[in-house]
Amino acid sequence: MLSPSGSPVVEASGVCRTFGRRRAVDGVDLSLAAGESLALFGPNGAGKTTLLKLIAGLLAPTSGTVRVLGRALRSEAASRASIGLISHQSMLYRALTALENVEFAAKLYGVDAPRDAAMGALERMRVADRARTPVRALSRGLQQRVAIARSIVHQPALLLLDEPYTGLDAAGAAALTDMLRELRDARATLVLVTHNVDEGLAVASRAIIMLDGRFVREDDCAALDAAAYRAAYRAMVVGEVASPWTMSVSA
């Protein structure tokens, strides 16, 4: 989807973000068109989550600009209606039921028939049978499914996912992969942050490896040998982290 001005869905230019003296994101340029799905790989501390927060408007860049659908999310509240975010934390309210959590999000986004939309989202994540269960009574995996339902209830044009497979069992992971493929086919733009190369490549059309806040490798997934990529990624990460444990795993 292009913005009215014809600009890409995500456009980041020269983005830096520092925390104290540390540069979490260091001069990143990124352009994503409608229907593109980006898998962002990298070890802990590479700056993936910070970049995701910058795109979502949760953080302000120290320098550079981030625009979504041609607009700055931080200054234009209404433009945030086009994005969905799945974060490390569930962003759910434990005292409310799964349905109430998702319905609350639907109302905040101005979705028509919010209760029906919320039930629909829960059904897509195969957790509708727990709709009236308080979130605190759900397992970590089911909470993650509800969190995903909350983030897609308004059918966003841009979905940002930070380690979305965390805590999901096989059925939950399959439901998530199916949902991501459906969204991709519906020309939604996806940014998937993960450590797991296989999960990322399953839905991505483009893959980027991030180290020390910078993009160090960028590939088109259509022409990618998954096994070679996995090996190259492992070598990069092990070279970067160089811990005895990762060395033994890669050996």
Binding site: G57, A77, G110, A157
Partner: protein, 237 residues
């Protein structure tokens, strides 16, 4: 719009509607857990009881002590409720979902403030009858006037307390920081509210209470506007 398609047209609620949604959500959470309400209520009734027996009745009549006691209890029981306002957002980072939503920061502040105002009004709806009971106050028009003073003062307390609750929640000593930040700002409201309450309960003409009320109203207007404008900066990482 199809089943899996990308929604192009959404009509996010305006500032007031979004604020009301957030307030209702906060009240629903409190209704389910009742933790803050019960702790505020128990504190308020206990404090009324202890302060009643702390003074010699033959030296100061209970009715003369009531205004001071009332406002001490309102301030500290209010802090217990305000503390919880943003801690429920921090637990699983619900605040991030609000910040990513097409809702202005001002709507988040106003929603939190409306929720806190209704919460404190509910606590005070029990505190005031308890005060009447303990301190043998006349039940009549003066009580309605006291309720009106409480509402006006609570608006100011909530305006300041909601802002500081957002600032304190990310700190290690949030429980300590909120009272330390808030209480100095509560003082102008509490002093004027206590003076107005003394006049009303003493059976003095309403015109004697009015100058104190005007200061509270001015405080409310200034701090509701200032805190709404300042709130977005408290959310910056």
């Amino acid at each position: 719009m199809d089943d899996v398609g990308v929604r192009v047209t959404a009509r996010p609620p305006g500032t007031i509607a979004a604020a009301w949604l957030i307030a209702r959500k906060d009240l629903a959470i409190e209704f389910r857990t009742r933790t803050a309400f019960l702790s505020s209520l128990v504190f308020a009734v206990l404090a009324l009881c202890i302060l009643y027996f702390a003074w010699d009745e033959s030296v100061i009549a209970p009715a003369d002590r009531a205004p001071g006691v009332l406002w001490v209890v309102v301030a500290f029981s209010g802090l217990l409720g305000l503390q919880r306002s943003f801690s429920i957002e921090e637990h699983d980072r619900g605040i991030d979902a609000l910040l990513v939503a097409p809702t202005s920061r001002e709507a988040i502040y106003l929603g939190k403030a409306i929720g806190n105002l209704l919460f404190l009004c509910a606590v005070q709806a029990v505190t005031l009858p308890a005060l009447v009971l303990f301190y043998n106050l006349p039940v009549g028009q003066s009580l309605l006037a006291v309720a009106a003073i409480m509402l006006l003062a609570t608006i100011g307390i909530v305006a300041v307390g909601t802002l500081f609750s957002a600032m304190a929640v990310n700190t290690r000593m949030a429980e300590l920081l909120l009272p330390m930040l808030s209480l100095p700002f509560f003082v102008p409201v509490l002093l004027n509210a206590a003076q107005a309450t003394t006049r009303v309960l003493g059976g003095r003409p309403a015109s004697e209470a009015w100058p104190w009320l005007r200061i509270i109203i001015a405080f409310d207007i200034v701090f509701v506007v200032a805190c709404t404008m300042a709130f977005p900066y408290t959310l910056e990482e």
